[in-house]
Symmetry: C2
Subunit: 310 residues, 2 copies
């Protein structure tokens, strides 16, 4: 990808992210009533200018698998709510104790710690309330009622599993324990990357496929593809901390080393880390190319995410 | 109810609570893998000897409405997981800062604050994972597939709504804000009781009815009944803090007044509070008696809960 192609792609991604933000907004609760403050804290944290990567992957996978209509929208919003709640709780003083995220004060700094715990809970709970709206509105001509219910409940199960103890929360548990212990094996690190980061990316692509009516083989292939994307994305994060441009990255280079944080690079070396990113990237692209349907944009997005320099 | 009847009823309730605890245990995740600690914290907090009131009301309502089979079981476990997560997060230093609950150290005291946040998140998320199991196993002869899906998804929607910002979390928001403000109106207090306490009781009885295939009229009647039970239960709490027996109650009498906590009694007086408990109790019982089916146990349980002395 040359510089011009990259710029064109970046513009396309930003446009898609803006469209997704509009979709998310339509699913947010109104800031009113005696629950107003917690709803304001939900808005504050979710409308903080994220990349909307997970709903974007979901929407593109839905399209790739022939999905039409609005079925996928409540799940796109739900996915971003779950991603956001995990950041709000991760930033708490009892967890990572971060006061800033993307240049803005974190939720507990603005609303207080108790309200941030509650806002995270509210986002997680509201994610399921939102995803369940698929059964209110999802009228697809020619698809029997039981098939629609089957796809909707399957998508809900994927969302719940990948967000929970066998997915993201499992990864957070391992991360929290490794931090307390002050040491980490490569197996533990891969477990953390697989669960804390890749699980929601897997869920995003699987749900897109399931709601579009894809067969089990396709759903499994997309799960593997998403796993490669998620893990490569995280290892690239570790690589960029060593070789990246501080200005591009928006954080200081070498911060992992300064914080004595063990990463894929510190455990296996820079060369091995770059090789791992490359091989996982190739595997992910090979899976996308093997599927019927036009995956051009998903391929470009994958390359962009994995080989980013910030 | 005389002393002997009361003792018999208490034994029956304890027996039922034990049976429910066995059901809950079958739905708990195994304490293994790199997510072991958070799963241990989930077990620690849910197996702390609660009254299992919410799953009991759900099961009894399911039976009252003619429910047979195991459909209700995953929802009973899910309901107790949601109730438990709310206690774990409520006890955090940033919220009520309680170090003991039912004579045992609270989850954050044993596992640390970060792990307690995570264990609460895990219980909430796992509640939905668990409730979704209704679609794996719920084979009811003679009920068409679409009807089973409809009832299951309706029950999930009730669970999510009553646990979220328009239910329990909404009540917690109002409670947290009132505590910070140091003052409370009667309207706010009723909102808190309705949402923080009654909402999950409403969900319990509604879900029992929905899963048993009850009609909308019955579901609505049970929602009103549960609302009366929940609010009367909370006001009785306030009353007992003034007139109760410290030994029976397991906490010191007059603690609300000492903590300058505004309650229904401090706002409206003891006499008015007792009248309100009585009238809500009568309304709840009248609804139960108006329904077809044998509600004898539910009536006794309602009287026991509302007119308890501890």
């Amino acid at each position: 990808m040359d510089a011009e192609e990259r710029l064109t792609l970046e513009k396309e991604i930003i446009k898609k992210a803006q469209d997704i933000e509009e979709i998310i907004k339509t699913y947010l609760p109104k800031e009113e009533g005696l629950q107003r403050t917690v709803i304001e804290a939900m808005h504050y944290s979710i409308l903080a200018g994220g990349k909307r990567l997970r709903p974007m992957l979901m929407q593109e996978t839905y399209r790739l698998c022939g999905g039409q209509g609005d079925c996928v929208k409540p799940f796109m919003a739900a996915m971003e709510m779950i991603h956001t709640y995990s950041l709000v709780h991760d930033d708490l003083p009892a967890m990572d104790n971060d006061e800033y995220r993307r240049g803005r004060k974190t939720t507990h700094v603005v609303y207080g710690e108790g309200m941030a715990v509650l806002a995270g809970d509210a986002l997680l709970n509201y994610a399921f309330e939102t995803a369940l709206k698929v059964f209110d509105s999802c009228e697809v001509d020619g698809v029997p009622l039981a098939d629609r219910y089957r796809a909707g409940t399957r998508a809900l199960s994927i969302l719940a599993k990948k967000a929970g103890i066998y997915g993201m929360i499992g990864g957070q548990n391992a991360d929290l324990e490794a931090e307390e212990a002050g040491e980490l094996s490569t197996d533990q690190l891969i477990f953390i990357h697989e669960h804390k980061t890749a699980a929601l990316i897997e869920a995003s692509m699987m749900i897109g496929a399931v709601l579009a009516g894809a067969d089990e083989e396709t759903v499994s292939a997309l799960e593997r593809c998403a796993s490669h994307i998620g893990i490569a994305f995280q290892i690239q994060d570790d690589v960029l901390d060593v070789i990246g441009d501080a200005g591009d990255l928006g954080k200081s280079i070498g911060s992992d080393e300064k914080n004595h944080k063990q990463t894929y690079v510190s455990l296996k070396g820079l060369k091995e880390a770059e090789k791992e990113v490359q091989s996982r990237s190739e595997e992910a692209l090979a899976i996308l190319k093997s599927l019927p349907g036009d995956s051009t944009f998903l391929q470009k997005l994958t390359e962009y995410l994995i080989h980013r320099n910030k």
